[in-house]
């Protein structure tokens, strides 16, 4: 298990843009599962949407990408790299994610060429798939 304090030593994301609370399992260079608890207090619910809080799909993708960033960092020898989002081949949003949901973020490293990594991710709530995304990111050095 990797808690949030340790996550902050692995990736440079911080409040209000740190979208992974915990890593519950990780297999180096292969896969990782992260948890994100979605609360009614999330700032983005104020505007998305007024009177109808739905977690923005792009932030589910971002949460998957951050989980992927943790996987990539833990797998590589040089730590504290940032994941720069480059492209999404395809993302599907199947069910709205609402306050009270716990997101289970499952990512798999599909392909790696130097600093460019391809991932496949699935986000679930109560075992039901809420979103899926195939995306490509680049690892970039971030000075602490």
């Amino acid at each position: 298990m990797i808690d949030v304090n340790e996550i902050k030593t692995i990736i440079p994301h911080r409040y209000p843009f740190l979208l992974v609370d915990r890593i519950i399992s990780l297999e180096k260079s292969k896969s990782a599962v992260g948890i994100k608890n979605v609360s009614a207090n999330e700032g983005f619910f104020e505007g998305h949407f007024p009177g109808n809080p739905i977690m923005p799909g792009v932030l589910i993708i971002e949460a998957l990408a951050q989980t992927a960033g943790i996987l990539a960092n833990v797998s590589s020898e040089k730590k504290y790299k940032s994941v720069y989002f480059m492209s999404i081949e395809r993302a599907k949003f199947r069910k709205p994610v609402v306050p009270g949901d716990q997101l289970r973020l499952e990512v798999e490293l599909v392909k790696q060429r130097n600093t460019v990594l391809k991932f496949s991710g699935i986000a679930r709530v109560d075992d039901k798939v809420v979103a899926e995304a195939d995306f490509t990111a680049m690892m970039v050095d971030m000075e602490e």
Partner: protein, 151 residues
């Protein structure tokens, strides 16, 4: 965090296309955490900006009688190394639309360079809406004067 990623609609053609601008400043709340030592606009924010603007075109094209929820994106390219202090131009168009959903595409330009694009974006339509409220919100968000009965 209001999660609004356009400041103004500059062009609007019903059923066809929309253009808008978004100024990214250092005071954007999310930049506090992205990142604490270096402020960079997250790539997903450009995707959200395209989705929001094009979403309003769908609402406007259906006379505020529905609300679109993004259900699929394909062929998305974005940029994740832009420091705030710039204005982005966002352009979206509807490729096809039916009662149930709309397919569109969109692009974002900064200083003449394309920084993000979506080849295919699909919205599902939800019909349980309050058209009057949507109209009021659109007027506020877009900065456009909407003429009654001419929408």
């Amino acid at each position: 965090m209001r999660f609004l990623y356009y400041d103004r609609v500059t062009k609007l053609e019903k059923g066809k296309s929309i253009e808008g601008v978004k100024a990214f400043s250092l005071s954007e709340e999310f930049l506090k955490g992205h990142f604490n030592r270096k402020a960079l606009v997250p790539g997903v924010i450009f995707i959200e900006a395209m989705a929001q603007l094009l979403g309003w075109l769908v609402i406007y094209s259906y006379d505020f009688k529905l609300t679109p929820i993004m259900s699929l994106v394909e062929g998305v390219k974005t940029t994740s190394d832009l420091r705030p202090g710039f204005e982005a131009k966002i352009r979206g168009e509807i490729i096809s639309t039916s009662k149930r959903d709309t397919l569109g595409r969109a692009e974002v330009f900064v200083g003449g360079d394309k920084v993000a694009s979506v080849e295919r974006i699909i919205y599902s339509h939800f019909h349980k809406v309050d058209p009057e409220e949507l109209r009021v919100r659109f007027r506020y968000y877009s900065g456009l004067e909407l003429k009654e009965g001419n929408e």
